[in-house]
């Protein structure tokens, strides 16, 4: 148990170190001083109160999508539809807020309503692949990916047609009074971040402390044994798909009500798959997933200052992010190999002899 936790921590940390070393080499090859560039990368993301606010704000949607992937995977179903569910949440929130806003109905209650309806919409988008999987045996990965396109294109209909803001292909902004406020006025992140962290903590408690969470984990680890031991495997998978979608939907609503305020081309693009990566690096632990999401947000936010100060393009930061994902996933697969276990045993027994 202790050994497992240790490798679970060592692998991502080593991966990050390796990714930064390679990133440093690339920076040097571009003619910049890697140490200086990395300094700006860190300063730009955590160095000032403003930067910290930006980082946490950027992390918020990533956390929701990471938790979305985390919950489904924990139950052994692969929800790749985080993005679609995220968009469904955002669209619902946006449409409801704008329609009510036209009638002059606004305020924090409307914000709450939008978040709840967004959650439900995400859940419904997760319901579709879930029900097709358990009743028809369809591959949930394919269906959930395809539904991403449906959601993206549907959003296009909203901002280019139904609720278009005059000549610009985007919707109007939701009313000021509906928006999610900042927790600290000087920091850019909103209550959406606080809700995300709360969802993560609740998810952790649910998965690791409750009877129902126990069953979900058991199904995720070994579906056959769970069935033999009397768990309603299909029902659990179905429910976890819906919950997973609902978390992403809440994230979409929170992003819209807190940061973007309107639907526009490119809204939420890529968050679904980012979330999958966060969850995998966080090894399906909701709390770890939150930390990973903040880390990735920091790389993204900090890369702008890095480019401004040293001329190293932001894409180097993208390379580092990609390398972290590759190394972690490969590393976690590596330590599961029996050869690695044998190697480790040889090392430790060697130490004892010496």
């Amino acid at each position: 148990m202790k050994i497992k936790n240790a490798t679970g921590l060592v692998v991502p940390l080593l991966s990050i170190l390796l990714a930064f070393i390679i990133g440093g080499i690339i920076m040097a090859a571009l003619g910049a001083n890697p140490l200086e560039a990395m300094q700006y990368l860190i300063k730009g993301s955590f160095g000032t109160v403003n930067a910290l606010g930006n980082t946490l704000n950027k992390a918020t949607p990533l956390i929701y999508c990471g938790l979305c992937a985390c919950f489904a995977y924990k139950c052994g179903v692969f929800n790749l539809g985080g993005e679609g569910q995220f968009l469904c949440g955002a669209m619902t929130a946006c449409v409801v807020a704008l329609l009510l806003g036209e009638k002059g109905v606004e305020g924090w209650l409307i914000c709450l309503l939008c978040l709840i309806l967004g959650t439900i919409a995400g859940g419904i988008w997760g319901f579709i692949p879930g029900i097709l999987k358990i009743t028809r045996g369809q591959n949930e990965m394919i269906i959930s990916i395809m539904l991403n396109y449906v959601a993206t294109l549907f959003m296009g209909v909203i901002y280019t047609n139904w609720m278009r803001d005059a000549s610009v292909p985007q919707t109007l902004q939701v009313p000021q009074a509906d928006r999610l406020g900042r927790i600290f006025p000087r920091l850019r992140f909103t209550w959406g971040f606080a809700i995300a962290v709360a969802v993560g903590i609740l998810m952790w408690i649910f998965l690791f402390k409750t009877s129902a969470g126990f069953k979900i984990r058991a199904v995720g680890y070994n579906m056959t044994a769970s069935r033999f031991n009397g768990f309603p495997v299909k029902k659990l998978m179905f429910v976890s798909f819906i919950v997973s979608g609902a978390v992403a939907g809440l994230g979409g609503a929170a992003e819209l009500m807190g940061t973007q305020f309107r639907l526009i081309n490119g809204f939420g693009a890529g968050y679904g798959f980012d979330g999958v990566a966060m969850a995998l690096i966080g090894q399906l632990n909701p709390l770890a997933t939150i930390l990973v999401a903040v880390f990735f947000a920091a790389l993204r936010v900090g890369s702008t200052s890095m480019q401004a100060a040293t001329g190293v393009p932001t894409s180097v930061s993208d390379i580092i992010q990609a390398l972290v994902i590759i190394f972690t996933v490969a590393g976690l697969a590596l330590v599961k190999l029996p050869e690695f276990e044998a190697f480790r045993l040889r090392l430790t027994s060697g130490k004892k002899e010496a």
């Binding site: 409750t210 126990f214 070994n222 069935r227």
Partner: protein, 506 residues
């Protein structure tokens, strides 16, 4: 007759275990030579050596008088050794013709001269009476026809010696007759056949000579005319009755579970049940003897509620079961030590404590409605580790990292502590060392004393003899007879395990 194949002193060792030990086998041209043995007797290992999948640890192989080192199945095919596997190796979405020329090595140039190939194949097919339509898709063929495609494919690739691995297993009786006709035709043309089977009737019908394997060694090679089924079964199973450590009981008819004419995919002889009726009574151990893969898996899963029978009834504690759901069976007092402990019994990535309460997460003792009582669970796990002598680093160790014996003890603890009325134990000591196996047996006897009805399904005949108060024999999904567990008639049981009904003649 000339000798086509001689295997001399073949041994194959895996770790400390000899799957084959000093095996001598000689096959003559034009004969059907049967390899007869229980599962695990070493037939498959020997054939895998012959077709080059394994390299022997020791020994020599002579083919047509020359010593050969068979490197790969491809090499074996070039020498003239072809194998028809029990599970066919055909590409289902391709036609018969395409499957046959697939992997052909001696084609020259980029394109295939289809017409010449076709002619050659049709000639072969007619010569041996294989009756195959070349342009049909494999998917559209019956099992028997697919098998003929495999045979034709081997012949087309130049096989002189054909290995048929349990070829009759999936066939209907008429198809088996057809297969035998083809086999005779082949041998009359000088081809040789190694026939693997454990069905006595067929073996006596088709073989010229029979080599009996047991525990990786050759018992003897005999001519068909020189033995009868009883003698063969004795040599194959080969045991003398050892006194059991446990007193055998006869209990009154008071079933905890009763099956009446249960069918499950009954045309499937290896994975089906055909009209099975049986009852397990309170306080007895009912042993199911049989060669592996005769429906034991399905029997256990029907009684555990994992699969739903096609016909027949299952009564649990006097109530007829309507819906087959494992949870319902568990609530009705059925405990199950499943056949594959890692796949079906345990969640390897969870801890010993988690696995011990796997079925009890709704139990108020361990759960306060929503939250688990982790403290209670941990204490319980500590107690169980003591009581069942589970050797581990602590209750929070992952089950995956335990030895097989200790994993089995975790399952045993969980199932017995659930205070069941019925315990289904499938191969409960498979892969365990003697100490752990004895421990499992003692716990079963203890449970029997507490009036638990136990269904013991095992391919280990010794285990059945040692433990059972009553013995039923299963063959091709059917119950072949019932025998007393006290002074069990070993010969009769052996014969029943190879497909002869109690009281019938071989």
């Amino acid at each position: 007759m000339a000798e086509i194949l001689r295997m001399e002193g073949i041994s194959k060792r895996f770790g400390n275990f000899y799957a084959n030990k000093n095996i001598n086998l000689s096959i003559e041209e034009g004969e059907v030579h049967t390899l007869l043995g229980e599962n695990g007797a070493g037939k498959s290992t020997l054939m895998n050596i012959l077709i080059g999948l394994y390299q022997p640890t020791e020994g020599k192989i002579f083919f047509k008088g020359k010593e050969v080192h068979i490197e790969s199945p491809d090499h074996a095919a070039r020498l003239g050794i072809g194998m028809v596997h029990q599970h066919f190796m055909l590409v289902k979405a391709m036609t018969v013709f395409e499957n046959i020329i697939l992997g052909e090595k001696h084609s020259k140039g980029l394109f295939i001269n289809r017409e010449a190939r076709r002619k050659e194949i049709i000639e072969l097919s007619e010569r041996y009476g294989l009756d195959i339509e070349l342009d049909k898709l494999i998917t559209d063929l019956a099992v028997g026809a697919q098998q003929r495609v495999e045979i034709l494919k081997a012949l087309y690739h130049g096989a002189e010696l054909l290995v048929l691995d349990e070829p009759s297993a999936a066939l209907t009786d008429t198809e088996v007759e057809g297969l035998f006709a083809i086999m005779r035709k082949l041998t009359s043309e000088g081809k040789s056949i190694i026939f693997i089977s454990h069905k006595m009737r067929e073996v006596l019908h088709i073989s010229d000579r029979i080599t009996i394997l047991r525990l990786g060694e050759v018992v003897t090679t005999v001519n068909r005319g020189d033995v009868d089924g009883q003698q063969l079964a004795d040599m194959m199973i080969g045991r003398e009755l050892k006194p059991s450590h446990y007193e055998k009981k006869v209990v009154p008819h008071d079933p905890v579970v009763e099956l009446k004419s249960v069918d499950f995919s009954k045309d499937n002889k290896h994975n089906g049940l055909n009209g099975v009726s049986l009852a397990v009574n309170k306080g007895e151990i009912l042993g199911i003897a049989g060669v592996d893969g005769n429906g034991q898996t399905q029997l256990a899963q029907v009684i555990a509620g994992v699969i739903t029978p096609d016909a027949g009834t299952v009564d649990l504690g006097g109530n007829k079961i309507q819906i087959f759901d494992p949870n319902d069976f568990i609530n009705k007092g059925v405990a199950h030590i499943p056949e594959d402990r890692n796949l079906q019994g345990l969640v390897g990535d969870m801890t010993i404590a988690d696995n011990l309460v796997l079925k009890e997460t709704e139990n108020p003792r361990f759960s306060g409605g929503i939250f688990l009582k982790q403290g209670v669970i941990n204490q319980y796990a500590k107690d169980m580790i003591q009581k069942y002598d589970i050797r581990c680093q602590g209750y929070d160790q992952d089950v995956r990292s335990l030895s097989g014996g200790n994993q089995q003890k975790v399952i045993l603890a969980r199932e017995i502590e659930s205070e069941p009325d019925l315990l289904i134990a499938v191969h409960p000591t498979r892969g365990l060392d003697i100490g752990a196996a004895d421990f499992v047996h003692e716990q079963m006897i203890k449970a029997r004393a507490e009036n638990v009805g136990i269904l013991l399904i095992s391919a280990d005949f010794d285990e059945i003899l040692e433990m059972s108060d009553r013995i039923l024999v299963i063959f091709e999904g059917q119950i072949m007879g019932e025998f007393s567990g006290k002074n069990p008639p070993i010969e009769e049981i052996s014969l029943a395990m190879t497909g002869n009904r109690k009281g019938g003649r071989a």
